[in-house]
């Protein structure tokens, strides 16, 4: 029955499409599970029921776990349609046809039956689909069938070579813009798609063939000048990029909220340069000692402690202004926040009560916060209650910045990178100095420039001459 039908259909292939429309749709459905020969052509948007093929091992039902497409999507042959599960086996069902999905026969978590329709696909009239077979074959057959299929595989959308190129690169043909006749996908289209994916612009492919052969040299140097420089024919590179809109969630949403609130604060900036030559030396000496105690010592603990000492003299920088701007609350604890850049975005945990911590204790706490931060285990306690913030953007780069105050705080400092620069010492000699830039921002409603400048000078003096911190350490 099958064979006869094909022969009769293939002879009709060349008749005008209107005649083929008369074919009864049901004639194309075969109840035989093993071989599902589909005749061609289908036309005028013929709907074909794509049945769930045999999973093997005698399994008759599976659960639909995920749909990769929805009604109205266009699919190409070999595109993934859905994921079904049976008894610890997860199966990816791929499309046998090119076309548009018209109906999904099952919802998520419903039981689907082998041999029953899974999706309805509308096949395009102009396509010429070669007869294909169901995946399950008795073993002796499948090898021949594969080669058979490859030889016969003429698809008007893309040639087999192009299909292979797409398959090898895991590209869905339905995602590629075809620039050939009838929207046929050409090799260049695949290459352009790949280029878009990798972010590189590939040279136009026919370049190699276009370069004209160099004219034969006729007597020495003069001929060299006359030699033509091959000019590749420029082809417009098809760019099929699309804008992508997504909702603002998670870390970004948090940042949007915080920074929008910060807009209400009138910021002013104050910047300066710190000579860290002595501190660099001190840290080098103390690093191994801290290591023996199991703590990694960076520059931050020194910056934080010096800031706290400064805040003791200028408590207005460690304060908070209420909503109505009527009252200032001077915070007793110096909970100094340290901006951290994680994979997901910006977080600012704070070190509590720096005013009673030693530099070593601050270093230990920083280590703890850093490891928790990278493991995603920081609690709300670590992230709230800050009164003053330092941001060491210099570890990534930069010199001067304009940091944004994190409400309900009133001041923030951003530290640039440490650079080795020539400076003059007291005797007028040039020496190699380790210079770092600091950029402060403060709330101009309660802090004036003079206060900020004096605080910064004090902080700077502690760091430029670390021994002076000893006098004021509590």
């Amino acid at each position: 029955v099958c064979v006869h039908h094909i022969r009769s259909c293939s002879s009709i292939r060349f008749i005008k499409s209107k005649y083929v429309c008369l074919f009864d749709k049901s004639a194309l459905k075969f109840s035989h599970h093993q071989r599902l020969f589909r005749t061609s052509p289908v036309s005028c948007g013929q709907i074909v029921q794509f049945k769930l093929s045999d999973i093997g091992e005698g399994i008759t039902e599976v659960t639909v776990k995920e749909w990769y497409i929805k009604e109205g999507d266009s699919v190409s042959q070999f595109d993934s349609i859905c994921e079904v599960q049976s008894d610890k086996a997860s199966v990816t069902i791929t499309s046998r046809y090119d076309g548009i999905i018209r109906k999904l026969h099952y919802n998520l978590d419903e039981i689907a039956y082998v041999g029953k329709p899974l999706v309805d696909i509308e096949i395009d009239a102009s396509k010429d689909v070669a007869p294909e077979e169901d995946v399950v074959e008795t073993p002796a057959m499948s090898h021949e069938e594969h080669t058979h299929q490859e030889i016969k595989g003429h698809k008007t959308l893309a040639t087999p070579a192009v299909r292979r190129l797409a398959m090898e690169n895991n590209i869905k043909l339905s995602e590629v813009v075809g620039t050939g006749k009838d929207n046929r996908i050409l090799k260049e289209d695949i290459l352009n798609y790949l280029a878009k994916q990798t972010g590189a612009i590939l040279p136009p492919s026919p370049k190699a063939e276009i370069i004209p052969p160099l004219p034969k040299a006729e007597g020495g140097p003069i001929a060299l000048k006359e030699r033509k420089i091959p000019v590749p024919i420029s082809r417009p590179i098809a760019f099929s990029g699309k804008d992508k809109t997504e909702a603002v969630t998670g870390f970004q949403k948090a940042m949007v909220k915080t920074m929008s609130a910060a807009l209400k604060i009138p910021h002013f900036g104050y910047c300066d340069e710190i000579d860290l030559t002595q501190l660099v030396q001190l840290r080098e000496e103390l690093k191994p000692l801290a290591q023996t105690r199991g703590v990694k010592l960076s520059f931050m603990p020194f910056f934080i402690k010096a800031a706290s000492l400064g805040l003791l003299q200028y408590p207005v920088l460690n304060a908070s202004l209420d909503e109505s701007c009527q009252n200032i609350t001077y915070k007793a604890s110096h909970n100094i926040g340290v901006a951290m850049d994680t994979e997901q975005g910006l977080i600012v945990p704070n070190v509590k009560n720096v005013q009673v911590c030693s530099v070593f204790e601050i270093a230990t706490e920083l280590n703890r916060l850093q490891s928790l931060g990278s493991a995603g285990q920081l609690g709300t306690n670590d992230l709230t209650g800050g009164t003053f913030t330092l941001s060491n953007i210099g570890t990534i780069g930069g010199t001067y910045t304009k940091p944004v105050i994190l409400p309900p705080e009133v001041a923030i400092g951003a530290l640039g990178k440490i650079q080795v620069l020539p400076r003059f010492n007291g005797k007028g000699e040039i020496y190699k100095a380790q210079i770092m830039n600091v950029s402060w921002s403060a709330d101009h409603r309660i802090i004036d420039g003079a206060t900020m400048a004096r605080f910064s000078n004090l902080w700077k003096s502690y760091l430029e001459n670390p021994a002076s911190m000893l006098l004021d350490l509590k």
Partner: protein
């Protein structure tokens, strides 16, 4: 000993062997035994993907042997919150991965070996593979009481599960992989695979818990190394392939082009957590505040790992309902993830001015909501 280019050409080009097919299952000639040099679960899963998609398996079989540093691996359609103790996992630094095959959650460490049998779709046959493993076990320990069950597990002494199975079927190729417990950390295994999260409702595939036992407890000769060798031998004999094991480095882009992209994909939050089927959380927690205990009810709906609907209900006299609603609103649309919840909750706490007592209460509330994730 690895021969990169030879291996690559062997794996990539479809093998055009015209050998006659041997009777049921026994394909003549083409086959390869690979062993991973890495113990990174993501890299090894990426290799599985690579072989499944890129190696020409129409005429060829491949056996892939691998082991992982401590990791919990959930099946394709499972819910990690239902399957394991994520808090303990993060605390212990154990990795979480989602594989592409179905089945239940398992714990891997270096005392567990993984075997993946790659074949063409038509030659996918799980029982045969497991019988092969049983033969390998008996070759090392002839009196070992092991057998394959109907659920494709391997049990020891009729009671203890020593191997679990899962499979993935594609269009032209398929693979079946299974674990084998040699000397894993059983106490960590049972602690990790016990979920503390209550009130979760979903259609995700549930694991079937079983009592487990290590093979070394039964016979100290059954170490991972010996077992890997024995399985390789048995595979070589069964499928008439070269018994030499080729070592591969899952980080080598030259041998396995595209492997970095695959590894990265398996590590993304969107894959590990975001692929969880839709689920709802309906639970409560008790808060101790100044000698009184209050109950707070939480209802959430999570799809693609993101909170779509969030309701937090605390006693009105303790916390104004408006505040609960604000917290719920700030969590909606974000990942069901303690990290993000903490950041969003902190932002909410930071940007809304309130007195110290209310702030303390809000802090307490946030900490507890975070514990649900």
């Amino acid at each position: 000993m690895a021969l990169p280019w030879a291996l690559r050409s062997c794996l990539q080009r479809p093998c055009v062997l015209r050998s006659r097919r041997a009777p049921l299952g026994g394909a003549a000639g083409a086959g390869l035994i690979l062993q991973s040099l890495s113990d990174d679960v993501y890299q090894n899963l990426a290799v599985e993907d690579w072989i499944h998609e890129q190696a020409g398996l129409e005429d060829r079989q491949v056996l892939f042997l691998w082991r992982n540093a401590p990791a919990v691996v959930v099946g394709r359609h499972q819910n990690p919150w239902q399957e394991c103790d994520l808090r303990l996992l993060r605390q212990k630094g154990v990795k979480l991965a989602r594989r592409r095959s179905g089945g239940g959650a398992v714990y891997h460490d270096l005392g567990n070996i993984n075997l993946t049998f790659f074949t063409s779709r038509t030659r996918y046959e799980r029982r045969d593979n497991l019988e092969l493993v049983v033969r390998a076990l008996r070759a090392l320990s002839p009196r070992l009481d092991v057998r394959v069950t109907e659920r494709y597990d391997i049990v020891l002494g009729g009671r203890y599960k020593i191997s679990g199975t899962a499979a993935k079927l594609g269009r032209t190729a398929a693979y079946h992989h299974c674990t084998l417990l040699c000397g894993a950390d059983k106490s960590l295994l049972s602690a990790l695979l016990r979920s503390p999260y209550r009130g979760l409702r979903s259609n995700a595939t549930a694991s079937v818990p079983s009592a487990v036992r290590n093979l070394v407890e039964e016979d100290p000769a059954l170490t991972c190394e010996r077992l890997l060798e024995a399985v390789a031998e048995e595979y070589a004999a069964r499928h008439h392939v070269d018994r030499r094991v080729t070592l591969i480095n899952p980080a080598d882009e030259a041998v396995l082009p595209g492997i970095h992209r695959k590894t990265k994909e398996l590590q993304t939050w969107e894959w590990v957590y975001g692929k969880t089927p839709k689920f709802s959380v309906s639970t409560y927690f008790d808060l101790t505040y100044e000698d009184s205990v209050l109950q707070v009810k939480v209802d959430m709906e999570v799809k693609h790992g993101k909170i779509e609907v969030c309701n937090i209900d605390a006693p009105e006299q303790w916390l104004p309902p408006g505040l609960c609603q604000e917290l719920a609103k700030s969590l909606t649309g974000s990942r069901f993830c303690p990290d993000e919840a903490t950041v969003l909750a902190s932002t909410w706490l930071r940007t809304c001015p309130r007195d110290d007592e209310l702030r303390h209460k809000c802090n307490l509330l946030c900490e507890n909501v975070r514990m649900l994730m």
